[in-house]
Amino acid sequence: MDLQLGLALPIHHPAIGSEPNDQEGLHKKWVNSKRCHGEAFGERSSRKSQSLAWSGRPNEDDDPSERRSKLSCSMNKFRYREGAEGDDQVVGWPPIKSWRKKFMHGLQRPPRRDLYHNVRPAEKEDGKPGHNTFVKVKMEGVAIVRKIDLRIYQSYNSLKGALIAMFSRYNRDDFKDHASYTLTYQDKEGDWLLAGDLPWLNFVESVRRLEIQRSRDGNQIRAGQNHTMSSSNILRPY
């Protein structure tokens, strides 16, 4: 049964986020669950009444059951407006606190794989542009800056290993020892920090650039010693 409600604004399903492929399917799903009483119980006349641009108030002369079905149809199609998230919803229904709605909406992202094993794919958060998981990596002493996709790594170890391998062709040393290298990163606030303190997923979200350096004579590298540093950023080295 085709349940296109002509007067309704295009429905953006809030629960799944901006997945254009799913829009139509979701539209149908949402519309199905929102059949008005009249439609659900085969009263054709109420369907026709939807196409009337009635101003929304039932006429007091109406017979109660007809008014009721009009009201329930009306719930489906009028009093839409842009919610804070840009979703079209019947205002005030369901009666869920807007804070809670926003929180759950902020969590509804394209299906993500198990948190531990994989990095979250690029996503929208609070309407800001999706976080780009490609970051530039500079190796000290090497002119060429490389770009890597953080999504394919699951831990600091695997990232560091890959970077060392990537850059090893540029230098003659055969150091594959992780301890000889220090990984630092620039976060979204512009500060240079030593990598390793944040949980991996938090790190992926905040990293903007990476740098890998070799320790000299066993001395630990300080974060951002090649860059302007903010004072509060001396962290335990990785």
């Binding site: 669950s33 008005c36 009721r68 005030g92 369901p94 009666p95 869920i96 804070w99 969590l107 949980p199």
Partner: protein, 572 residues
């Protein structure tokens, strides 16, 4: 009449702590009124526009704790336009100027600003407790002022507020000398937190009993905090994700076992289901569990967890627990008094949802239930009747069928009889929210049986004015009535205008009342503020009394129309 000196009376009154009882005391005679008002320390004001701060202080000069509520309840559901009001700054200003010895401020649905928070922090030397629920208008800069200046701060409790996070170091603003914290809740903040500062703050707060963390606090930090604060009674977990083979996780397991005082758990704002077993050791002593903000935990994991929580009195959960899961709750949690089941997917078809079966199971297993909020896919009269028979102690009963005009799913009849059974059986019911297909009949039952009803929320219900009339005539104790999308008009509105002075407020949106009806009401009742909202200034252009009013909010007040109403609010 009075045989005791004032000091003795005052001492006796000290034992009377409930505001209602104290209000009653003050009505006995002038002497008691005087003694009571001079010794009153806690004042509750359900509508900040019903009274002015000046009058409050004049009557209760010794007040130390004030609770204020601002916007109408339906503001929670985006029905009240932005900038409606509920500003707390004027209150703080007057309180500060009058040198009130304010120690505690609890606000709900109010607009709070950084200036206000700063003024609080500088004006009240003994300020101890700030509780903000569903407020907005402030940033973490305001919190920094509170942290920095309130020397004896015990409680900073932020629940579901809209806070602009400036990612400053507000936590750093707690001085090293601050060791008095008992309760800290910043779960609603979205920005990053300086974790080292947080750990140090916890380390120097030996009285800390309640700590609720935001999503920015990872599991490693949680573990370190719990080591410092094994005395915690109430914990809100931020992020609970980690590699189960890691050292941190095994440390966490050991640490959690030492938290013998833990009674209440909430949060899990980011969680991996396989991490949940870490909390099993403390589940057996939990009395309160709120997993309603924990996304994506499958029903099977939820039920595994709940089987361990045999002492639970309060449970807030998402509907992905399913009817079967509620069956597990019913068989495990015999002490349950409060249950809230929230929809995980409010606009979806309902794969993850609950039905009348879950509710019936709960009623069979948990006879002590007094408070229910239940979002479900469908309901039947038969189920409600069974619930009414099994649970006679409901004080709050809020049922929300996601499709608001859905009839009984097995008989297609209205749900009048089901709700009727509830109000008839639960004589103490004080708060009721209805949904589903409902006619005037359910209101007949409510008016007839719900003698203790104080708050009623209705949407998409009734056939005529009779519905509202039954409620207004029958419910002697009704205080708050909020109605949306019902066919109630001027006849109902104007039938007993004096009634509204016995109530706190009335909200009607998308009903049948007209501008003329509202004007009549306002004219007859000068001690009500009758506010009309128009969303597109139609009220300015159109003065036709026959025009239907989109939103009406009226409330009793001793101080006349408010001066801070925005343009779209017309006080008649």
């Amino acid at each position: 009449m009075n045989y005791f000196p004032d000091e003795v009376m005052e001492h006796v009154f000290d034992f009377v702590t409930s505001n209602r009882d104290r209000n009653a005391i003050s009505l006995v005679c002038k002497l008691w009124y005087r003694i009571e008002r001079l010794s009153r320390q806690r004042v509750f004001i359900g509508n900040c526009y019903a009274i002015s701060p000046e009058r409050l202080i004049a009557r209760f000069p010794g007040v130390k704790s004030i609770t204020l509520k601002g916007k109408p309840h339906f503001a929670d559901f985006n029905l009240v336009p932005h900038d409606w009001g509920g500003h707390v700054y004027p209150w703080i200003e007057v309180l500060a100027r009058s040198r009130v010895n304010l120690e505690e401020l609890r606000l709900k649905r109010m607009v709070v600003t950084d200036e206000g928070l700063e003024l609080i922090s500088r004006s009240f030397v003994n300020f101890k407790s700030l509780v903000l629920v569903t407020c907005e208008g402030f940033t973490t800069d305001g919190l920094a002022a509170i942290a920095a200046n309130c020397r004896s701060l015990k409680e900073l409790d932020l629940q579901e507020n809209e806070v602009e996070d400036h990612r400053g170091q507000w936590l750093n603003c707690f001085p090293e000398s601050c060791t008095s914290l008992v309760s800290l809740n910043f779960a609603c903040l979205k920005g990053d937190i300086n974790l080292a500062t947080l750990e140090r703050l916890v380390a120097r707060s030996p009285n800390l009993k309640s700590l609720r963390l935001s999503r920015a606090v990872p599991l490693e930090t949680l573990q370190k905090i719990l080591v410092r604060a094994p005395q915690l009674v109430d914990l809100g977990v931020g992020s609970f994700v980690h590699d189960p083979d890691s050292e941190t996780y095994s440390k966490l397991l050991t640490t959690i076992e030492k938290c013998k005082s833990m009674r209440s758990l909430c949060g899990f704002l980011e969680v991996a289901a396989y991490c949940l077993p870490a909390i099993y050791p403390i589940c057996s002593s939990l009395t309160s569990l709120n997993l309603s903000y924990a996304p994506g935990i499958p029903g099977s994991e939820l039920t595994k967890l709940i089987r361990h929580c045999r002492k639970l009195q309060c449970l807030w959960i998402l509907d992905c627990i399913g009817d079967k899961g509620l069956g597990v709750v019913a068989s495990s949690c015999k002490e349950l008094q409060e249950l809230r089941v929230f929809p995980s997917d409010p606009y979806g078809v309902g794969n993850a949802s609950v039905t009348e079966e879950g509710l019936v199971a709960i009623s069979r297993g948990c006879p002590k239930l007094t408070s229910l909020l239940y979002f479900c896919q469908q309901m039947t009269n038969a189920a409600l009747k069974i619930v009414a028979q099994n649970c006679r102690n409901f004080i709050q009963f809020r049922l929300c069928i996601l499709d608001p005009t859905k009839p009984d799913s097995s008989t297609n009849e209205p749900l009048d009889e089901g709700f009727g059974a509830i109000v008839q059986s639960c004589k103490g019911i004080r708060r009721l929210s209805l949904s589903g297909l409902l006619t005037d009949q359910v209101f007949y039952y409510i008016g007839m049986y719900a003698e203790q009803l104080e708050m009623l929320s209705i949407a998409f219900a009734a056939d005529s004015d009779k519905g509202m009339l039954y409620v207004l005539n029958g419910c002697k104790k009704i205080r708050k009535l909020e109605i949306m999308e019902c066919p109630f008009g001027n006849i109902a509105l104007l039938s007993d205008v004096g009634k509204y002075e016995t109530m706190r407020s009335l909200w009607m949106s998308s009903c049948e009342v007209t501008l003329g009806g509202c004007k009549t009401l306002a004219k007859k009742m000068p001690r009500l503020n009758v506010e009309i909202f128009s969303e597109n200034n139609e009220m300015e252009n159109c003065i036709d009394d026959e025009q239907k009013v989109q939103k009406l909010y009226l409330y009793r007040t001793l101080v006349g129309p408010r001066k801070d109403a925005p343009d779209y609010v017309w006080t008649l």
